[in-house]
Symmetry: C2
Subunit: 271 residues, 2 copies
């Protein structure tokens, strides 16, 4: 896929991504806030019913079934069912429930992550929050949110110094001790740090509310939709050394080159 | 107000509380996710425009104006405009935006807190999340949530040991170092701890998703609606020593007497 995509193909990929998100919504909501925690006994495999795993799998199956109809020759990489090869050079990257701890706790901060990538990384992505009914999308020149207040363009906030910045993160629940120390060096210089937001943090960078998201220990399916949405909204998303991050690991999303560089300097030096 | 309230008066108080929440919603949403952080320069007092303070004040004014019409003889305690005396023995306790850091960051975890109290504490309360369009209410034999998926009863989850519990908190952003150490003693024995949820955590205890919320450094207007909602849903909400908590300070909300006692034992011993 080194030729530019035609606008017809772009439109088809956007329609497909939305159809996938629409198909995932009811599957993820079926077990959300049912009051059953994942260690409750129930009719699931091994004698236990795990609502997150059930919802995760059902949502990914719904999306894969739809791709088999709509884009059968594209590759797929999904959190639950792994890789399926394709012939078009395009790969759909699916995380049916990103933020499973948020899902279990009932917080509306988990999301369905859907993106389509070529060899160089994601080219279009969606972060969908089914409970709120809110969808952040970016790529092919589009960047918008649709939700309880209708549709609005997504645009990162203005550049400001780290001392005035708001950071969102899922630390300290993720990453290694060394990664957490590096994160703290940045966090200690920021104006406000908030925790526990899962993938929703990236949506809020794109929406102009948050300046930085810093995370670690991520998988490709955790990062590709966020990278697409943040980038489309005018932000930057790389690993902690400024390299492409779509294979996962450590992710640094920022509203501007200046604050991105300031954060990278403080994050540097861990192995 | 030591006589039991008539059912007509209870119904009037419930209607009034909902009318207050309806009046606050548009005022809080006017400045939500406008991309303006509170240190941006603008047309506000002192040359700076603070969207949270603006929204906080406008929402409380809208509620006070409505109370002047609907329940002019009740007392009021509001976060922004303080105390107004009354003659009925009933006090409306109002926090127009609880979770201002969440509001600034754009997260849907802040809420409008509305409750009505007699001398012994809150008797009915609402936790309203305007962006999601979600309202948790409890008191006078009612406990329900209305939101994106319609109306549903609120009922705390089943009793489980601390080792299987989910805790929500706004630590480490709140409280003293000693309070944080005490919190960690409980957190370290729980299965899952999630951060940054503001008043939304209490709603999730009432909704059966979370076992404990532990917080400190609270004001009366921060706690009274959460206490009413958690209690109405079958839970317990006291200070860290099991005493009434409606004057603020340290709050421990739990699904059952057993886990409440287990948490209190670990929280004990700080001055």
């Amino acid at each position: 896929m080194h030729d530019p995509l035609t606008s017809d193909l772009q439109a088809e990929l956007i329609r497909t991504a939305h159809a996938l998100a629409d198909a995932a919504r009811p599957e993820t909501l079926k077990h959300f806030r049912t009051g059953i925690l994942s260690d409750d006994k129930g009719p699931g495999p091994g004698g236990r019913f795990d609502p997150v795993t059930e919802a995760d799998r059902a949502a990914e199956r719904a999306m894969r079934d739809l791709l088999a109809q709509l884009r059968p020759d594209d590759a797929i990489l999904g959190e639950e069912y792994g890789r399926k090869a394709g012939t078009t050079g395009l790969t759909w990257v699916l995380d049916p429930i990103d933020g499973t701890r948020g899902y279990i706790s009932g917080t509306p901060t988990w999301g369905v992550l859907i993106s389509v990538a070529d060899d160089a990384g994601p080219i279009f992505g969606i972060i969908d929050q089914p409970y709120i009914g809110e969808r952040f999308e970016g790529g092919f020149g589009r960047a918008l949110v649709t939700g309880p207040r209708g549709a609005a363009p997504l645009r990162v906030g203005r550049d400001r110094p780290l001392s005035e910045a708001t950071i969102l993160t899922t630390f300290p629940e993720i990453g290694t001790a060394a990664e957490y120390s590096a994160f703290r060096r940045v966090a200690d210089r920021a104006r406000l740090v908030r925790y526990g937001m899962d993938c929703y943090g990236y949506a809020l960078v794109a929406a102009g509310q948050v300046d930085l998201v810093i995370e670690a220990g991520l998988q490709p399916y955790d990062v590709q939709a966020p990278i697409a949405v943040v980038t489309a909204a005018g932000g930057i998303a790389t690993d902690w050394e400024g390299r492409p991050a779509h294979e996962g690991g450590r992710l640094l999303a920022a509203v501007s080159p200046a604050i991105h560089a300031a954060a990278m300097e403080l994050l540097a030096g861990i192995s």
